[in-house]
Symmetry: C3
Subunit: 261 residues, 3 copies
């Protein structure tokens, strides 16, 4: 059995500490996929939630100072219970506050996967240059993924026109997807949560596992674009939830555009 079917059988509990803007979209996306999202954030209950969790997502999109304590506590308990962590360093190049928090998290706890766009990953590796949450970079996602892997020594997912995944120094490039994912808020954030669902119970995910996560999501996005009114962002967002519910492993296998480099 491949991972998508396993998710639908096990309904792993995915703790999502994510931004206020995309909580609803993220929870609906994970439910549609077959995971069991819990958007709990309070440090006083993180030990209990993470005892039963398959994975933890930390997305800093709407981080405030008082969230830091909760996020650090969640990471601590996740490490303690061997729960994999996905970090989504949203707009971490836009402020020292965001970048410092991400670097502290990465230094203090074992992060399993970092998922961001090229600008965000570049900000973490040293060269920041961004406006808000939008990417602005000339380097390829492949180069950015390799640099981030070399610095942080964890799995890296860099999204862009071509997505790059780096695990243990080996890279896959994914050519699936649609530009509409950047016209809907949370298109990248939901991917971070989908990655968390695919690596449940697995603190050392393989390149193939992450490739399955990305191709499942991006092939679903292509189907969403082709469904009724799917070229318009309002309907695209609705269709994407539908397609995450409908998609089968055979769809992914038939449509995936993966290049090993």
């Amino acid at each position: 059995m491949m991972i998508l079917e396993q998710i639908r059988k096990d309904n792993p509990l995915i703790i999502c500490i994510t931004n206020d803007v995309v909580k609803n979209f993220t929870a609906n996306g994970l439910l549609a996929l077959g995971a069991s999202p819990a958007m709990a954030t309070e440090k006083l209950e993180m030990d209990e939630f993470l005892t039963h969790a398959g994975a933890l997502l930390i997305n800093i999109g709407s981080i405030e100072e008082h969230d830091i304590e909760n996020m650090l506590a969640a990471a601590k308990y996740a490490n303690h219970h061997d729960v994999p962590i996905v970090l989504d360093p949203v707009a971490c190049g836009a402020s020292k506050f965001r970048k410092d928090f991400c670097l502290k998290l990465l230094e203090t706890y074992d992060i399993t996967v970092i998922r961001g766009n090229a600008s965000e990953l570049q900000a973490l590796t040293g060269e920041a240059n961004m406006k808000g949450t939008d990417a602005d970079t000339s380097l390829s996602t492949e180069d950015v993924a390799r640099a981030a892997y070399n610095k942080f020594n964890c799995a890296i997912v860099v999204t862009g026109e071509i997505d790059a995944i780096c695990v243990n120094g080996k890279i896959n490039l994914i050519e699936n997807g649609t530009a509409l994912l950047t016209k809907v808020t949370g298109g990248g954030c939901l991917l971070g949560a989908v990655v968390a669902s695919f690596i449940y119970n697995e603190t050392k995910p393989t390149l193939e596992t992450l490739t399955e996560a990305l191709t499942t999501y991006t092939v679903a996005s292509e189907f969403a674009e082709r469904a009724s009114n799917g070229t318009l962002p309002g309907h695209f967002a609705v269709n994407l939830i539908d397609q995450l519910y409908l998609i089968q492993e055979s769809d992914v296998a038939e449509n995936r555009l993966v290049k090993e480099v």
Copy 2:
């Protein structure tokens, strides 16, 4: 005039202190139904808001430590102004933090209705066993409703494949609804807000009032499933808002599946 028409005539103000994930869906659902939602939470303004309110919803889905003071203040002012309170104890079996808060609220203030799934209600009555927000129980909703009524002596709504409502020891079972309500985040949370709307200005709601609330919501969900693409969760959520806007009392009367026990 039945209650649904009265809601559409009076547009009662429903104060919803609810979780971050479902605020938009809840507000849109209540607006569609005909109520007037206000998602205010700050304790410094609760006295004023509750002076004009028809009902108060307290949903702990994304509770953090700093929310407790606001929720307790809201309950205090609601009791003071004779405003009915619906408590939705989301995932209260998943952490001591959640369960302790709910029990403190129930001990300190008069709660009009508790609305939850079987696991949540069981956690409150003593036998907790749950993973995140999902129910995991072998007892019938009817048994769970009766046990909760016996312990808390307030109206109880337990949702599941068959929903059970207990008022003054008498129970109605509702067989309407669709499993898609569990595939969309906030399917249960919105019901809690709909219950609050139906009991506006009524701190001692009858079994028939709560039965109207549940059948209106669950019949609307059946219509939403039958509307265009309604078997898919993205479109189902959109359709549910539409159907809460369209539904008439005659639709509910013709389609309700209520069993008195």
Copy 3:
């Protein structure tokens, strides 16, 4: 080139400190329009964000005591960097807490535009009478806009059946729009964010600029109502995002109903 095209070319960064209920809808609306929303709120990063921002929206819909410091800091940095500010004083007539905050903000910092319904503006100018977020007024939006302009000496947008815009004492009335905007949560809040997008980099917007913002939004809302199932609130909200993406300046020019008074 008119402003809509310019927005789509420049993708101005719009910092939205807005309420929890409408963050997703607001971000999706601005992305569809062509702006680049950032929902950052933390005071520690506001100086950096506002250095690159085209405009700042402050919407108090779900304000809590601890948000005040962040909002005041954002306004301070916006003034420092000559970034225009739109204030949306949601339900400011419903509590002393809200009204006092708005008046303090208006006294302390230069606000570029106030956008609200008639009740909200009347609450700010002295005559409060409202229930939650709903308007309840007998004065015309034109009279309310003039009174607010006279008191605060900034641009005023009062929405209602007929919208009134007052800049430097001159008033335009907009007859476009649909009542469905009041059946969807955030119909007014998103307009506030759209206004912020149209006045980017412009702390002294003209009456024509604000008229373009309002007619673009309200004509898009008319198109959304006419699109598939658009007379129902669930589909209307989805269609509105689509139409903000599709709308062209020629559509606005052909359909705008503007009366100079």
